[in-house]
Symmetry: D2
Subunit: 288 residues, 4 copies
Amino acid sequence: MNIGFIGLGIMGSRMAANLQKAGHNLVVYNRTAQKAEALVAKGATLASTPEEVGKQCRVIFTMLATPDAVEEAALGQHGFLKEMPGNSLWIDSSTVNPSFSVRMAKAAQKMGHRFLDAPVSGSLKPAETGQLVFLVGGAAQDLQEVRPLLDAMGKDVLHIGDHGQGSSMKIVNNMLFGQIMGAFAEALKLGTSLGITEETLCQTLLNGPGGAPFLKLKQEKLLTRDFSPEFPLEWLHKDLHLAGVTAYEQGIALPTLHTVKEVFAMAKQAGLGEQDFSAVYDFINPTK
Amino acid sequence: MNIGFIGLGIMGSRMAANLQKAGHNLVVYNRTAQKAEALVAKGATLASTPEEVGKQCRVIFTMLATPDAVEEAALGQHGFLKEMPGNSLWIDSSTVNPSFSVRMAKAAQKMGHRFLDAPVSGSLKPAETGQLVFLVGGAAQDLQEVRPLLDAMGKDVLHIGDHGQGSSMKIVNNMLFGQIMGAFAEALKLGTSLGITEETLCQTLLNGPGGAPFLKLKQEKLLTRDFSPEFPLEWLHKDLHLAGVTAYEQGIALPTLHTVKEVFAMAKQAGLGEQDFSAVYDFINPTK
Amino acid sequence: MNIGFIGLGIMGSRMAANLQKAGHNLVVYNRTAQKAEALVAKGATLASTPEEVGKQCRVIFTMLATPDAVEEAALGQHGFLKEMPGNSLWIDSSTVNPSFSVRMAKAAQKMGHRFLDAPVSGSLKPAETGQLVFLVGGAAQDLQEVRPLLDAMGKDVLHIGDHGQGSSMKIVNNMLFGQIMGAFAEALKLGTSLGITEETLCQTLLNGPGGAPFLKLKQEKLLTRDFSPEFPLEWLHKDLHLAGVTAYEQGIALPTLHTVKEVFAMAKQAGLGEQDFSAVYDFINPTK
Amino acid sequence: MNIGFIGLGIMGSRMAANLQKAGHNLVVYNRTAQKAEALVAKGATLASTPEEVGKQCRVIFTMLATPDAVEEAALGQHGFLKEMPGNSLWIDSSTVNPSFSVRMAKAAQKMGHRFLDAPVSGSLKPAETGQLVFLVGGAAQDLQEVRPLLDAMGKDVLHIGDHGQGSSMKIVNNMLFGQIMGAFAEALKLGTSLGITEETLCQTLLNGPGGAPFLKLKQEKLLTRDFSPEFPLEWLHKDLHLAGVTAYEQGIALPTLHTVKEVFAMAKQAGLGEQDFSAVYDFINPTK
């Protein structure tokens, strides 16, 4: 059986490679074809459009940067959905807003297909080593059907609930990351302004009750100011934006989220968008 | 040797009890004398003013609610500093702003005494069980002198730096707590609005990379909505305020801190000030 | 010549009535047909779908609540654009985000038609008395062609620039309103908490250099707490949301806008959405 | 009768000059004595300390930059209060927090004197031309006694209420200014990012219902980017800080104020503190 994989960026290329390693035949598509070369060299078929992927696969994964890109690939002029054999299964691992996932689920169903939103927790390294955590929304039996594929790419699969709830959990998760990262950056800013070293602050705070595990992983980046991207700041900013839009759709207020979002927007404006999202610290507390 | 202890609230009463257990003779003072009864029953001397404490002790601890209360006790009309024998040592464990600690250190020195700012990390239970962490600012040899006393009340003593830096670390620490607590409350709000249960959200988020240790300790409070105070919301709000004032004094901007501070201010306005600070969740996501 | 008018809510019904008074034959459509009764009684033709309006008109106005509603009316299954005679002119007076206006302009052009975004400044009363101000984006000659129609509904027509810039100016305008309204509400909150009466505060502040003209119009509402809607709070909240989304699209940060937006979101959560937007004061400074 | 005047900065020097023009003998003090030269050349007596002013005057004005500076001048080692003849009258025109004014009123009364808080609305030019507006807190008969002096410096005198309420109104007033200025800067930022010129934005917005009078006065500064100070940004930032501290003292939440405050803090951090406060626009929307 062929497995389709659309979107071969930082994350997608590594996830697809793990599927390939597990013995699956891949049909891949990426806007920039050269990103597919490594996969093709190991036997993957390169499609020239999403539509061509659709013709050859009953299971397709998408891992794209924005809801618009996902919609184009699935439902656009050369979209894959209309070409897939009846009752196929589309798994969207992109980080999108929950209402978008629900809309895609309906669009798939209307065309006789099945859908799972299955975004992942974890960035570059876990993608490479197959240690991602999948947060899945949709029918339990659909999940069961593709569970071996997810296991090839991740260490854990959490079935959160119905269509959209995988995306919901992902957005909530990344919103929490953004807020904690921003908070930690402000804590270091205040502490260093008072004459405490970054080292002492990190050691004290990260070994204390506020030391969230991912902050410990970012510590070296902060101390060395090497913000090479694991998860780019502009992506986190996008996720905070999707969280804000979702809050609006739900009719709820999230004041602090919105302020943090604007701090990340300022960091992006200042040119840090392609750095790791921990570079928000470089915006809040620049070295002179 | 007598040890003075001024301020017998939730924290102070338990800290003093641990000093007493370790065999020290205490001279204690509290505005409401009855809070001293348990200590007096076990041999502590009750003073009628801070001044009376000053006359009997070369080492005095203060554990009071606000900078104003500390200043009144030390330097007011019946303050203890002017009565202490030359070269005495005052340890202020109250949570105050760093510039206040620096001012107190200077006032003490001017009167021939020594000063340590030594606020604590940890709330009710660690205070009771002697598991506090002291964050100390001041001279290393002064700290060495009273180290056995701190060890009787805490499990760890961190010498952060010069006068004021104990308070600096404490403020930075509590600011981080407040921001993470507020962030987690917003995350649960967004998640539940999207139909995910509080249990699933807590389990997923707290076992993930954003799961700060203290959030795990608050989980039961959140799920049961029993916000009996370990660390009252109005105190955390005060600490966020002190962080804001300190940022102003340092000439730095901390946008997110200020928004979180106002969320806690709204929670306090809504009548939650005496609840645990995790009750900010009850403000953000009330049960109807 | 027939003029089409789609959307007969608080604003649209009054604008259409002024076109009718000026002697124009109207073909109208509204989801709830009974809102068209007064116009029909005076000679307007009631269409059963937007499509039916399209068949009978070379000029169509839309005045709808959300971008989605506009898109449905113009481009949906029963949309009017595909039915209009070649080279027709569609004027959208709805308040929408600028990128949406640009997208609609392109959609119209692709189908051989012309487009103006022409949202209005002014609420219920100016709509009724023909005192609106049109903020127009699009080609000057298209504007010239329908200028007499706009003059029948408004006192002023400002040609801001190209497609989308009418909507841009409108969003900027309403964002300024929302921020000033929120600021004034906070000013009254602080002043009354300090014991100054609302009357003294209004008199002093509104006659001073910060007294924006629209605040003077809201003064009576604030003092009497009669927040019957001229411009509903939930609509202003929507506009602040569109401003936020537009800022994201433009890659810029607007921190204060986002905080005000969340204050309005909280007011809406508290049940004030259908009140006048000045009711944000009732949220910030409730009478007990 | 001698009139004392302490604090001869941008505002104080011009206010004192108007008193002098009205025929009053002045005894003046300023930390930097040379700022008194113009006044001395026209007959004023230069005192070497506040205390020396106190010895020669029954009425003293203070116009200083911070609460600390006021307290030092009045109650410090060389303070004037203790030297004034019994039942003297001290008028503090500095912008301070209300609780500070109340404390100064009590300190004066305790020493047998009377006090008015009488901060002014208006900056450099109104100070020069005697067009200030005094916002007065204190006893009506005390105000009546010095009314001719205030009339020599201002065009209007508003008796707001009891001690502290002059300061309250001033803080509320400046808080409103800061928020409207910040809002307008963000409006211009969004508008220009969408391709509308600053000129069109200013013309449309300032002639519309949101056009607060003081914004019109700032228009030229914004369009020419000449931010020579009329009212320095760092002073407005200080006033926003005092408003925030006052809100904390009053137990109320003002979320938007705090976000604007931090935007001004960032502008100050960026080196704009000594520019006019309208330079917040230069921070939000820098020319590249």
